[in-house]
Structure formats: structure tokens, C-alpha cells
């Protein structure tokens, strides 16, 4: 019984962390599907979101429920601008050029953040209304921060699902993701849609960053968590939204279990071990479609 409780407890905390991976992976996938760009700066967008939240809430003293949406909206704007100014001009260039550009954006974001006087290279504590509170669910315990992460992720995923399924913009985004050429000629402003998707991904990243901030603290390198979200996206089949969510959760849980049951050091490679195992069996990822031949 005790072993089971321990196990469940690890699954619970793994799932909370997994939600963060899932949100970042979701950002990867959204951008990739709509624009075929792999945005290696997704983790840094999350970091910037966390810093903006920290600025609005801790430094400016805004109430959490005002600071959070404000940071999210600002990040959406930054994401859209990045697409407009940095990414759009290089679309159509060789893939490695685009990869270098998004990697470069990550570097710039990290050093840029550490140059901001109030941000710097220090680690900042960022308290949310959930910080320091703990709930018990039967024999298990969860911090309110963890519960907030899981609830928000669930709500966000549901909202995105409805957005993509039922709104005209959501449907236009899906159409542009499936066939850009055809999208143009049914009258979808594909370039605007790409900017919107970047904005959306950056907004989701900001939510992830602010949720994660109380758990890992805010610092310029917190975006490296993107390195774990990337395998999550690949695990799910890069290009599948449910896949990104499942991939994130699996990696979070596996990592947490590895950290608890296995010797020191396994925790950090767990994500990649799982990824290699899954890809060996299902090369297209969990939710990916096999490469179909064009007729």
C-alpha cells in the first residue's frame, strides 16, 4: 500500500511538470504545423513570459489576475512581432537557416533578459496566490501550484480545442496548416494566420512560464526546459496537438518516476530514453501519421 501511495505521488508530481512540458510542446507543434518552422526558442518565450509576469505582479504590484492576462497578451504581441519581423523574411530559405535563426532568437532572449536591470542573472522568487498552500487528496499531497498547473492546462487545452473546432479563425489556421497554397486561394490570409499562430504559441508559453515560476523560480536560463519539451513534441508525433499533450505528460511522469526509483542522474536522460524507445517501435511518434506517399 505504501509503495502504491509513493508511486501515485510521483505520478501526480510528474503529471504537473508534464503539463508544463505539454504546453511548451504545444507551442512547438502549433508553429510547426502552421509554418513548418521548428521554433527552438519556444522555451525562451516561456522564460520571457515568466519574467513579464514577475515584472507586472511582483515588481509593479499588480494583482495576479490582472498581471497574468497582461503578461499573456504582451507575449502574444511579441510572438506575432517575432514572426512578422524575424521569421517571415526567412521563410523559404533552407531549413538549417531557419533553425539557426530560431536558435539565435533563443540566445538573444537569454542574454537580453539578463541585461534588463531588474531581471539580470539572478534568480527571482515569484509568489502566486497558490504559493505555499498544500492540498491532500486521500493519502496524496499536492501543492496548490501543482493543482493550478494541471487545472489551467486542462482548461487551456479545452479552450484551444473549441477554438480550433468551431471558430472560423481556428478553422482557417487548421486549413493553412494542411495546405498553404490551397489556403491562399480559398481566401485565407496565410501570412496573418502565421503571425497569429506565433502569437498564440507565445501566449501559451507565457501561461506555462507563469505557472512554472513558483516551482522552479524565475531566471534567464529557465527556458532550457524547452529541451525536455522538444522530445515531448516528437514523442507525440510532432504535428499532433493531442500528441504534444500526451508526450508532455508521459515525459513528466517518467522523469519523476526515474528520479524517485533510479540512481541519481537517470532523471535527466529519462526523457530521451523514452523517446528513443518509442521511436524505435513507432517511428512516426505516438499520434503521428505515417508518411504517406503522394499520388
Amino acid at each position: 500500500m505504501r509503495a502504491f501511495v509513493e508511486f501515485s505521488q510521483q505520478v501526480l508530481s510528474g503529471a504537473a511538470l508534464g503539463c508544463i512540458y505539454a504546453l511548451i510542446a504545444l507551442g512547438f507543434v502549433l508553429i510547426y504545423k502552421a509554418t513548418e518552422v521548428v521554433n527552438f526558442a519556444q522555451g525562451e518565450l516561456m522564460m520571457l513570459g515568466a519574467f513579464l509576469g514577475y515584472t507586472f505582479i511582483s515588481l509593479f504590484g499588480l494583482p495576479f489576475w490582472l498581471g497574468l492576462p497582461l503578461a499573456v497578451v504582451c507575449m502574444a504581441g511579441i510572438g506575432g512581432l517575432l514572426d512578422r519581423i524575424v521569421v517571415r523574411p526567412i521563410v523559404g530559405q533552407p531549413v538549417f537557416a531557419i533553425i539557426m535563426v530560431t536558435l539565435g532568437m533563443g540566445f538573444v532572449a537569454r542574454s537580453g533578459a539578463s541585461l534588463v536591470p531588474a531581471w539580470g542573472v539572478d534568480t527571482h522568487v515569484f509568489a502566486t496566490p497558490f504559493t505555499g498552500k498544500v492540498a491532500s487528496i486521500g493519502p496524496l499531497v499536492a501543492s496548490h501550484d501543482q493543482l493550478a498547473i494541471m487545472t489551467t492546462t486542462a482548461v487551456l487545452v479545452a479552450v484551444l480545442f473549441l477554438f480550433f473546432r468551431y471558430t472560423r479563425i481556428g478553422i482557417a489556421i487548421q486549413a493553412a496548416s494542411q495546405n498553404q497554397l490551397a489556403a491562399y486561394y480559398v481566401g485565407i490570409p496565410v501570412k496573418t494566420i502565421c503571425s497569429l499562430v506565433w502569437g498564440l504559441s507565445a501566449a501559451v508559453a507565457a501561461v506555462a512560464g507563469i505557472l512554472l515560476a513558483p516551482v522552479v523560480l524565475v531566471h534567464a536560463n529557465m527556458g532550457f526546459i524547452g529541451l525536455k519539451a522538444f522530445p515531448a513534441a516528437v514523442l507525440g508525433g510532432f504535428g499532433s496537438i493531442p500528441g504534444a499533450i500526451a508526450g508532455g505528460l508521459i515525459i513528466g511522469v517518467v522523469e519523476s518516476l526515474a528520479g524517485f526509483y533510479l540512481p541519481e542522474g537517470f532523471k535527466d536522460v529519462a526523457a530521451y530514453v523514452v523517446l528513443l524507445l518509442v521511436l524505435a517501435i513507432r517511428p512516426q511518434g505516438l499520434f503521428g501519421e505515417g508518411l504517406r506517399k503522394k499520388v
Binding site: 495546405n179 490551397a182 480559398v186 499520388v295
Partner: protein, 252 residues
């Protein structure tokens, strides 16, 4: 006034003169066909009209208004729809969804209202849905309505693409090789639809086509080009018999 007026249009890719000083008019309700050997520049003319490329010189006017420099997504709004040489569908979506996306340009509601599901939004959706169902009936696609287009046979996908173009309520339809990849029976069917589209729906068709039987059957006027330049224009017989055209097709 002509529906579509192309004047002195040119498009160069480096040294390749894909389109060179091309002018022609398409009148309402006619079927106007462009023929020419492979690489002659036919698709490039379509890509200029659909604003996929910027012309190096010349002017394109639709219903008397200059469209040489509008954004690509506005082309459909103006009333020009198109199909592609190699079928470009939203392959993960059903036939119905593809046609509804074709209808996309005719939607008027904005996002905030859409999220509120106001009665006017629902009424608009119903109206579009009816229009799309009309197209499905017109092209006999009822049987495939909810099938994912990626899994349909090629011949049916070509018809779905035609349906998606019709769903946008165009005045001019650009068809890039409508018969390519079709068997004889399907080609025959395609020619009936092209006739119905002009005669019943009153839509003008600008078409690129290789199958001369189909060209003869449906075209009102024909334009022949080679190396980007016009070599002959007029009715089917005279263009086909034109010595330059004969030479071009003999591959000299």
C-alpha cells in the same frame, strides 16, 4: 466590359521568360482555353492572376478593376477561384469541410460575435451550409460528403477541388488541366460539368488543357502560347491548324 483583361503581361525567372508580353480578354460566361506545350508558361499565367507571383510588367484587370498588385487572399474575394494541376486539397478534412473552406471568403462575421453564437451568426452559417449542399448536389458528391479527401480516388478529388472552387461563388473559374490524371469516362464527365458551369451557373471559365478533344468540346475561344509568347488566338479549328501551333507541338 470584359470580365478579365490581361495586358502586356510578363514574368521572368532570371533568364527564363516564362510569360512575355501576353494580352487577352475573357468575356462573361465563355470558356477560354490556353494551350501550349509543356513549359510554355500556361501555369505561370494562372499564378500571375492568382497573385502568387508579381508580374515584371503588364496589367491584370478583373471587372474593370486593377488586380495586378492585390494580396493573394483577396483574389478569391473578388470572385476568381482556381483549381490546380496536381489537386491541392485539405487532405485531412472531409469533402464537406473542404467546400465550407471554399466558402470561407463569403463569411462576414467577426470572431467576437462568432464566439457568442449570436442568432445572426447561426443564420449565416445555415445559409453557407445550404450553398455548399447545392454544390455537392450539382457535382453529385453526396456519396462522399463526409469522407476524408485524402482517402478518395484521384478522379473524385479533382471533382472535390472543382466543388471547393464553386463553393466560393466565383465569377471566373481558373482550371489548370482539369482532365489530367482522369480516365476517358471521367474526362467526359468533366466536360459536362464545365458546360453546366458556364451555361447553368453563368460562370466564365479560363482553362489550361492538353486533351484536344475536351478543348474542342467546351471552348469558345483558344489561345496558344509557346516560350511564354502568344503564337495564335481564335476559335479552336483555326488555332489548331495554325502553322506555328503545329510546329510548337511537333516540338521544333
Amino acid at each position: 466590359m470584359s470580365l478579365l483583361a490581361i495586358d502586356n503581361l510578363s514574368l521572368h525567372f532570371g533568364g527564363v521568360r516564362a510569360v512575355e508580353d501576353v494580352s487577352f480578354r475573357v468575356e462573361p460566361q465563355e470558356v477560354f482555353t490556353v494551350i501550349g506545350p509543356n513549359g510554355a508558361g500556361k501555369t505561370s499565367i494562372f499564378n500571375l492572376i492568382s497573385r502568387f507571383y508579381d508580374a515584371n510588367a503588364g496589367r491584370i484587370a478583373f471587372e474593370g478593376r486593377d488586380i495586378t498588385a492585390i494580396a493573394p487572399h483577396e483574389v478569391a474575394q473578388r470572385g476568381i477561384a482556381r483549381t490546380f494541376q496536381n489537386v491541392e486539397l485539405f487532405e485531412h478534412a472531409s469533402v464537406l469541410e473542404n467546400l465550407l473552406l471554399g466558402r470561407h471568403v463569403r463569411f462576414r462575421t467577426r470572431l467576437p460575435f462568432e464566439l457568442l453564437f449570436t442568432p445572426s451568426v447561426r443564420a449565416e452559417e445555415r445559409a453557407h451550409r445550404e450553398k455548399v449542399e447545392e454544390v455537392i448536389d450539382f457535382l453529385d458528391l453526396q456519396h462522399y460528403r463526409d469522407t476524408r479527401t485524402g482517402s478518395l480516388p484521384y478522379g473524385v478529388r479533382k471533382v472535390v477541388e472543382l466543388g471547393r472552387a464553386l463553393a466560393s461563388g466565383p465569377k471566373l473559374l481558373l482550371l489548370d488541366e482539369p482532365s489530367s490524371g482522369l480516365n476517358n469516362e471521367e474526362t467526359e464527365e468533366m466536360s459536362f460539368w464545365i458546360e453546366d458551369i458556364t451555361q447553368e451557373l453563368g460562370i466564365a471559365v479560363l482553362m489550361i488543357e492538353h486533351d484536344m478533344a475536351l478543348v474542342r468540346e467546351v471552348s469558345d475561344r483558344v489561345l496558344a502560347i509557346n516560350y511564354g509568347r502568344i503564337i495564335a488566338a481564335g476559335d479552336v479549328e483555326s488555332v489548331q491548324a495554325h502553322p506555328e501551333v503545329v510546329r510548337a507541338y511537333l516540338g521544333e
